[in-house]
């Protein structure tokens, strides 16, 4: 086989695959943040904790109720989404008339509580999740070995991202949503129940985080702090992409995952910070973000 700049192709493609998987999570999570931000104008700091919650719900469904992975893909996001709806009704709703900072501080507090409770119950060492039989094993593609579980994450995340894009940009429901983002008062005047729409939108954004958690369950260790550092990277992804465009969030998420993977091949020490460096460059060149609209 050929070698590229002295890097064996297995290592190169292996890291690119890992990068693409990280990118899948960046894409789903930043998409959820963008959907929530669009309508609610808050940054959902609880997003990382809700991703963690999705993974734990999946684990609990299997170990307490014997529900398999495929059903969890449906049940866990809905369950996490419902907790989001409750949070929105109880707390977030009361802050819309205030400075956006308070939404950030509130959701930060909620994230601390959620993470703290799970730390108290499960400790910080990870729980293993037995991948379903269909996802164990893999295919040899000639130039690299592709484990099924990883291929599945990329496919599932791409499908969910594109479906979300389709619903928001191409359907009537999405049109209401986009209209309410532009002018909620006017949309309300046409008889649309805007407060309900806001609640459901938050629930949907949170469900996306929960879905990412389900995808993470078989490939990462499930522990209470799994979302904490991830969400900060996702914030950087959001700053780079700008939250103005749904497709922009998806492209930026996958793209940055790939760049991170490449960095791990050519300059491993830099892989933890490469996204932050890109963020600095983007702020210098195009402060509104690659796909952002200037506010």
């Amino acid at each position: 086989m050929f070698e590229l700049l002295g890097i064996p192709p297995q290592a190169l493609f292996g890291q690119l695959l890992l990068g693409l998987i990280n990118g899948s999570f960046y894409a789903i999570l930043s998409l959820g943040l963008a959907v929530i931000f669009g309508l609610l104008n808050i940054i959902n700091f609880t997003h990382g904790a809700q991703y963690m919650l999705g993974a734990f719900v999946t684990w609990m469904l299997l170990n307490y109720l014997g529900v398999n992975y495929w059903w969890s893909l449906l049940i866990a996001p809905v369950a996490v989404g419902i907790t989001g709806v409750i949070l929105e009704r109880l707390f977030i709703r009361r802050l819309y008339h205030l400075d956006h900072l308070y939404g950030l501080l509130l959701t930060f507090g909620l994230a601390l509580i959620t993470t703290g409770i799970f730390k108290q119950i499960f400790g910080v060492s990870g729980l293993p999740y037995q991948a379903p039989p269909l996802l164990s094993g893999g295919h040899n593609l000639g130039f690299m070995y592709l484990p099924n579980s990883r291929a599945w994450v990329i496919i599932a995340s791409a499908v969910v991202c594109l479906a979300t894009w389709f619903v928001i940009e191409k359907t009537k429901l999405g049109a209401y949503l986009r209209a309410a983002t532009e002018n909620p008062t006017l949309v309300g005047a046409f008889g649309v129940n805007v407060p309900l729409m806001i609640t459901l939108t938050y629930g949907f954004g949170v469900a996306l985080a929960g879905f990412a958690g389900v995808l993470a369950a078989p490939i990462y260790a499930i522990n209470p702090v799994m979302g904490e550092n991830l969400i900060i990277v996702v914030f950087a992804v959001v700053v780079i992409g700008g939250m103005g465009s749904i497709l922009g969030s998806i492209v930026t998420g996958f793209g940055l995952g790939l760049i991170e993977g490449l960095t791990r091949v050519f300059y491993p020490e830099g892989s933890a910070v490469v996204i932050f460096v890109i963020m600095a460059l983007v702020l210098l060149v195009k402060p509104a973000g690659l796909f952002g609209r200037t506010a």
Binding site: I42, I43, F91, R94, L95, L98, D99, H100, L101, Y102, L104, L105, L106, F108, G109, L110, A111, L112, I113, T114, T115, G116, I117, K119, Q120, E228, N229, I232, V233, F235, A236, V238, V239, E269, A272, V273, F276, V277, M279, A280, L283, L284, P287, A295
Partner: protein, 327 residues
Amino acid sequence: MTATTEATGGPVVAQQTAGGMPVHHIAIFAGLLALLIAAPFFFYPIFIMKILCFALFACAFNLLLGYGGLLSFGHAAYFGMASYVCAHAAKVWGLTPELAIICGTLVAGVLGFLIGSLAIRRQGIYFAMITLAFAQMVYFFSLQAEFTGGEDGIQAVPRGHLFGLIDLRSQESLYFLVLAIAFAGILLIYRIIHSPFGQVLKAIRENEPRAISLGYRVNRYKLAVFVLSATLAGLAGATKAIVFQLASLTDVYWTMSGEVVLMTLLGGMGTVFGPIVGAAVIVTMQNYLATFGAWVTIIQGLIFVVSVMLFREGIVGVISKWTRKPL
């Protein structure tokens, strides 16, 4: 003269007389100083020194949030990096403590300038996300860099001799040094808030387009207050490194950034004395709950939620409202 900004849930805004400090502020500062001079006879001095360091940290943060209206979620970067540099200067370079603290503080200022000049290009929640992301970058740097000692941190930092003369291994000398640093820092912040510069900052916080139309170069003011805040946060972090003889990853992690936000929010954003009260409450709470593990996180989260939902003026903000005096 007092006017409250009810609509935004903001702090009590006061008109300052040209003559300088109002009498009740002088009285509070004097009372606080007397209390702190007496405190080491009644409490464990290291505990009070910890409160003093965090009070200065929170006041520095409040300068940016409460008066500049800029929510930084990455102040741990300046606090922690200053702590590392100070510890390194004292231990490896063998500098005297005052020089080591100055080194740490200056590095925090430079870091503040670098991050601040990028972060002020965006506003509102983007600003918070950007500062958080850069602070995480500083954390990863601290994790990997040689001089920080990675997971171990820099341990057994020598306290040394102040100006090469006064032995800081004596608890009393150290205590009064820390008291002097924290008090001087807080008075400096007070001076900044009530200077013409501080008035312009408040104008920018209240109405940025208007400040621009009045001819103020808003971004310069924002960057200046960002650098000042980072530098003073660095002063607090560097002093903490000498007190605890330790610089570790905890000081540079995002949880530390969250804690300083919590102290300021609980005490009262945009009040002079709020962050001091907030720091005292949170440090005391951590001290008593240290053995309860994750409960500290849960309770901090609960305080965040309660403060945001019901108590946005903070402790001192509420007192200020009752007494109708800006505090």
